[in-house]
């Protein structure tokens, strides 16, 4: 395939000039070195394809962790005009509201050294991980499930999972408005009932780590973070319910594309006008899946807290385990953004990207109003993760968005080859990282070298000004599905 020409704007910005059926330019945030990897697959073409979609506002954007997705690239951000634009399930992905939350503790890392394996065992017991596992004490009936889909994390708190204070520290308060369970298929509901309160498998995890480095003392303090502090990262999403909603609506959108005469270069980009019945229905169903994911992370948070209490024989008050923040990585949302000096309501698609709102934004809770929104960027299981903060620059350039993670560089097949015969868990243990995984095979797929170094990804968004580094977290133990 011919190399797509890119125009260098500066060390971190690469423009894809408008041509052919593109309605706007594409813009990739990356370093020159990363571009070589990015060029290996078809993700740049995917940024171009998104630029052809009706009603796109501003540029078709790609974050430095961009890689080949289906339809939209992973690491893609695109905003659409509420009146003339479209909404696309492919712009959100199968794992709707796959996201990350960070808990901080009152513990120093030394206080749990020697207890990590015990903590992991407790987590592994209390947080269902891997195929078919679920809590025996949790039975969800149809009426309850509807409430989960409407209320999200709020439902979970009402049921005793976590605290009311948690809600303010979740994107959208843990509940996207406009969710309508009647638009979620029976199949999706069935998948959802069996899997609420489960971690899932693949790249989903719960990680115990510590704050290794602080880059911005003032903001770290406002986020309640300090050096050597024990922290916990939870990464999961909407499970089978989200996948089914996506699949159901891709079928709906495939028909809508013909009905509304939308021409697309790739079927997986299928979409419908935001104001059409199909577009509205998708949003209402997607919001259900997003709320399910918020509830899921809230429940897992509760079991993480219980696991720590159980092993360390201390109260939650002593342990802390407060929610720093919870962000979505795969989502479409209506947000207000300035376009050519005018405030407009746009439908922002983030597929493998994170909202990064700046200080002063009205959607932020009071305690983060002066700092900006915490942004959580998990890395691979052997290296480190980052806490960043949202910026005004992100508002100006990327509809308040930044990167979401490391991004794969090796295919799963290559990862398997690279890991052939090695004991990944032994290697990690030598580096002070313990692993509990439901399946040995999924651990191999996630070998650290299968991913870009998340530090490179974070450096790009930091230097491009899309978000600023606050802290680096280092893993001590991980449970994986």
């Amino acid at each position: 395939m011919a190399k797509i020409p890119l125009k260098k704007i500066d060390n971190y910005r690469w423009l894809i000039p408008r041509e052919g059926r593109m309605r706007t330019e594409g813009l990739i945030y990356a370093s020159e070195r990363m571009l070589d990897d990015i060029r290996e697959d078809q993700s740049i073409l995917q940024v171009k394809n998104v630029a052809t979609m009706p009603g796109i506002v501003g540029r078709s954007l790609a974050m430095p962790d961009i890689h080949w997705g289906y339809g939209f690239p992973i690491g893609g951000v695109a905003a659409f005009d509420e009146e003339e634009g479209v909404i696309s399930p492919g712009g959100v992905g199968y794992d709707i509201n796959c996201g990350v939350r960070l808990l901080r503790s009152n513990l120093g890392r030394r206080e749990i050294e020697g207890r990590i394996e015990q903590l992991l065992d407790a987590l592994f017991r209390n947080v269902p991980s891997g195929v078919g596992s679920h809590r025996r004490d949790l039975k969800l009936d149809k009426a309850q499930e509807r409430k989960v889909l409407i209320k999200g994390a709020q439902w979970a708190v009402e049921q005793g999972f976590g605290k009311w204070e948690d809600l303010a520290h979740i994107e959208e308060g843990g509940c996207i408005k406009g969710a309508d369970p009647d638009l979620v298929s029976q199949k999706a509901l069935e998948r959802g009932r069996a899997q609420l309160g489960t971690l899932g498998s693949g790249n989903h995890f719960v990680e115990i780590g510590f704050v290794e480095e602080i880059y911005d003392e003032r903001i770290a303090e406002a986020f309640g973070l300090f050096r050597d502090q024990v922290v916990i990262i939870i990464h999961t999403g909407s499970r089978g319910l989200g996948h089914q909603v996506c699949d159901d609506f891709i079928k709906v959108m495939n028909k809508a594309v013909a009905k509304y005469g939308i021409e697309l270069p790739d079927r997986q980009l299928c979409c419908a006008p935001i104001k059409s019945p199909e577009g509205r229905d998708y949003f209402a169903a997607m919001a259900c899946a997003a709320n399910y994911a918020f509830a899921n992370r809230q429940m897992i948070t509760h079991w993480v807290r219980e696991s720590f209490e159980e092993v360390l024989k201390a109260s939650q008050r002593t342990l802390g385990l407060e929610l720093v923040y919870d962000v979505c990585h795969n989502i479409a949302k209506f947000e207000l953004h300035k376009v050519n000096g005018k405030t407009k309501r746009l439908c922002v698609h983030r597929k493998g990207a994170t909202r990064a709102f700046p200080a002063g934004h009205p959607d932020l809770p009071d305690d983060y109003r002066e700092t900006g929104q915490p942004v959580l960027i998990p890395g691979d299981m052997g290296r480190y993760s980052y806490v960043l903060v949202g910026t005004e620059k992100a508002m100006e350039e990327t509809f308040g968005s930044t990167c979401h993670g490391a991004g794969r560089v090796l295919s799963r097949h290559q990862a398997k080859k690279a890991a052939g015969g090695r004991s990944i868990s032994d290697e990690l243990r030598k580096r002070g990282i313990y692993i509990r995984a439901a399946s040995r095979a999924t651990m191999v797929e996630e070998v650290p070298e299968a991913y870009k170094d998340v530090a490179d990804v974070v450096d790009v968004v930091h230097h491009a000004g899309l978000s600023k580094k606050v802290a680096k977290l280092k893993p001590m133990g991980v449970i994986k599905g």
Binding site: W68, D95, Q195, G240, H243
Partner: protein
Amino acid sequence: MIPSVMGFRFLDHTADVRFEVWAEDLRGLFVEAARALFSIIVDLQTVRPEQERQIEVQEEGRDLLLVGWLNELLFLHDTEGFLFSEFEAMEVGPSRFVGRARGEVFDPERHEILLPVKAVTYHGLKVERTAGGFRAEIILDV
């Protein structure tokens, strides 16, 4: 070179899993695609074909029928923990597919999940006629 009349192989794709399937006829193609899907999830040798499920899909076009069939199998995997190792395609019409799958429920003592699959996507989806029969290209979200 395609080594036999029926089979599948994996193609390179960074984030997800992409595979190619071929067969002499459409029925064979649907069977091979299902075998490919479940051989990604589990070692088929370890799955006993004890229980049978019949699946019917209504969609316009062979490509959508193929994705529909595979997603139905994934649905049973997801909701009831089914692993399948034997497949049969009884009817492949222009807008209707009927097939059967035999397998058993996931048993952590005997089965290892090699790679969990979230969904069969429509991205880069191809079902086409070849000199020797039919071939398909499919990308999974994993």
